[in-house]
């Protein structure tokens, strides 16, 4: 799937200071019944966001208009649980382009990178700074700079760098995906398959 190129994102952020946000919360299983990749953003955090009669839960952050932006900031161990890529789709479809946390579950991180949603891992201390900055001022601007691999709280100048492997970085910056790459190495693959024991 083609996705937006990612270079430097400067945006306000939505804080979700909860640990172990699992993929069943991000997108409950009953919303996985589509056969197309459309409309998942409407059901992002469905059961935290809406009551069972579909009225919005006022105390949930996505229903609080003072918070907005393209960056979601989550607590430790974000995206644990199921392998459903729908979780990353839902976050992307809602309008986020980056998730910041101090720790991501493996599959979620891989899925996000595959669809153009940048997972940024920062230290717990820095994550805490971000949460406090947003709490103090919901209009706090955060800059995520992929070429430089830095996150900056613009108001204070606080900055931290983050890791990403060179291959994925190149893909994200150019909107490429792995399938393009794999198609280009078909010959190697068929040669390998011919030798396979299985």
């Amino acid at each position: 799937m083609a996705y937006d190129k990612f270079t430097v994102l400067t945006s306000t952020a939505v804080p979700l200071p909860i640990e172990n946000v699992d993929t069943d919360q991000i997108i409950p299983a009953r919303f996985l019944k589509a056969t197309e990749r459309k409309g998942f953003g409407d059901n992002l955090f469905r059961d935290w966001r809406y009551n069972s009669d579909d009225t919005p839960k006022q105390d949930f952050v996505l229903n609080n208009s003072i918070y907005s932006g393209k960056i979601l900031v989550g607590g430790k161990n974000f995206g644990s649980g199921s392998s459903r890529e729908h979780a990353a789709w839902a976050i992307y479809d809602y309008g986020f382009r980056c998730v910041i946390s101090s720790f991501f579950a493996d599959i979620f991180k891989g899925n996000s990178l595959n669809i153009g949603l940048l997972p940024v891992t920062v230290s717990e201390a820095f994550l805490d700074k971000i949460f406090r900055a947003i709490e103090a001022d919901p209009n706090t601007q955060i800059e995520v700079n992929l070429p430089e691999q830095t996150v900056t709280i613009l108001a204070t100048g606080d900055q931290e760098s983050f890791d990403i492997n060179g291959y994925k970085k190149h893909n994200m910056m150019n909107g490429f995906d792995d399938i393009d790459y794999l198609q280009s190495m078909k010959q190697d693959i068929t040669a390998f398959a011919d030798k396979s024991l299985y």
Partner: protein, 469 residues
């Protein structure tokens, strides 16, 4: 240092088609399982790009996540589910992928049917768009869950791109106590390590406890690897493994069997191989387990009390949120809590041994009046075995019914949803908020514990009922 390698290294390295500098490895995939929920968008992607399925014979499809567990001979009522099932069937037909559709005698949960038909073999790389693909690691294969983009990669190139994970070994020696099942071993490890403690690692399970375990038990343990954050878990293949595979439908035969077996016997960790992390536990410390919170790491021995927030490794706020959802209080006993539903099933505990274990406890007793029990075999083959072995009679006499195979209340995508606010003791793998239905409260446990609850109506130590077995 020698060139000593681990089991994981041996299998991984044998599948690297290309190593990308400062990037992932391109890993060849031997077996790919697909189901109706995470595959349609991948097929759609292929169509949009105009590229074919490269090796249809390496992919196997089954319908399980969305399927009803009653009246499977009738059309599926939910139009969205029916739509996904139809998409799976038409995609499989279009590309020549073998499919065990709803109603097929081989149909069942993907991680149950793969092994029982001999598709899963030692030394393979196996992926599926379901995180509990780790189940297949029980055979000494590298097996893990993938996202839909990766399903599309495997369909189109038989490869995925993955950085090589770090390696962890968990060794448990000693003998398991009375009433302690493989599920308890899994829940115990997760409680010790936490739900994220093995993130970034691939785990090898070693030691007497796993050596002495049946294949069913090993599958239960490997299945739950993902619940401690690990990408997967594996156990070195041994005679137990070979005996299980030999003679199954898709297992190698004749000379192919001999070639395969000779290779499989080399699949073990060298004595001097080094892991990034090693953990040791003692079998004697493991009692029947149960979870009380909303991640699988929030579990403890069944006779223990719910820990205080100050005693847990998770953050205090998350822990309190978790207990509030469960409507449990810090310091409370778990034994004696009233339960509404019991679910025996899923790719964690929906195999024949699990039904044997459940039946051994309910035999000659009666289902408690306050309990609604859903007993869902993992496959039609398991279902047939339940009938053949006379287990169904025992269950029926005790007031239980058997449903038809599928994922069912493990993820509650079909009608099998635990109602809001109700308590379920479940042999599945996740107790997340709403996992078994919006507002449902899940306590994960073994088939023994599930059976003890089913006949008493409250959380009960199965060891109290085992004397008579």
């Amino acid at each position: 240092m020698s060139n000593a390698t681990t089991l994981f290294d041996k299998v991984w390295d044998a599948h690297v088609v290309r190593h990308i500098e400062d990037g992932p490895d391109v890993l060849f995939i031997d077996r790919h399982f697909i189901h109706e929920v995470t595959s349609p968008v991948a097929f759609l992607g292929l169509e949009q790009r105009g590229i074919p399925v490269i090796y249809p014979q390496r992919t196997f499809a089954t319908a399980d996540h969305n399927t009803p567990t009653m009246n499977q001979d009738q059309p599926v009522k939910d139009p969205l589910s029916a739509n996904q099932l139809a998409a799976l069937s038409s995609n499989a037909a279009k590309w020549g992928i073998s499919l065990w559709a709803l109603g097929s005698p081989k149909n069942g949960i993907v991680h149950v049917v793969g092994p029982e038909n001999g598709i899963t073999q030692p030394g393979m790389t196996i992926v599926c768009g379901d995180s509990h693909t780790s189940t297949h690691g029980a055979f000494g294969s590298i097996a893990f869950g993938i996202g839909t983009s990766e399903v599309e990669m495997v369909l189109s190139s038989q490869c995925i791109m993955q950085p090589k994970p770090k390696k962890m070994r968990i060794t448990i020696n000693g003998k398991l106590g009375k009433g302690v099942l493989p599920k308890d071993v899994a829940l115990y490890m997760i409680a010790q390590i936490t739900a994220s403690g093995a993130t970034g690692y691939f785990v090898e399970y070693a030691g007497e406890v796993f050596e002495n375990m049946s294949m069913e038990g090993r599958m239960t343990v490997c299945n739950m690897s993902i619940e401690m954050g690990a990408r997967g878990g594996m156990i070195a293949p041994d005679q137990t493994t070979f005996d299980y595979i030999n003679g199954r439908d898709k297992a190698p035969k004749g000379a192919d069997w001999d070639t395969a077996l000779a290779y499989w016997k080399t699949l073990k960790t060298d004595d001097t191989a080094v892991f990034d992390k090693e953990l040791h536990f003692d079998a004697a410390d493991i009692e029947p387990q149960i979870t009380y919170g909303t991640n699988p790491g929030l579990g403890t021995g069944i006779t223990n009390h719910i820990p205080k927030a100050s005693e847990v490794k998770d953050g205090e706020a998350s822990y309190k949120k978790s207990l509030a959802y469960m409507n449990f209080a810090e310091g409370e006993a778990i034994l004696g809590k009233k339960i509404d539903y019991v679910f025996l099933g899923s790719c964690t505990n929906g195999r024949i041994e699990d039904f044997r274990a459940f039946a051994s406890i309910v035999k000659g007793k009666k289902k408690a009046d306050n309990i609604t029990a859903w007993l869902v075999p993992g496959s039609h083959i398991v279902e047939a075995q339940i009938k053949e072995e006379g287990i169904l009679d025992i269950l029926n006499e005790a007031g239980f019914e058997l449903r038809q195979p599928g994922c069912s209340a493990c993820l509650a995508m079909n009608e099998d949803k635990i109602p809001a606010g109700k308590y379920a003791v479940s042999t599945s793998n996740r107790n997340f908020e709403g996992r078994q239905g919006p507002g449902a409260r899940t306590l994960l446990a073994s088939p023994y514990v599930a059976a003890a609850v089913a006949v008493t109506g409250v959380v009960t130590d199965p060891r109290d009922l085992i004397e008579s077995v």
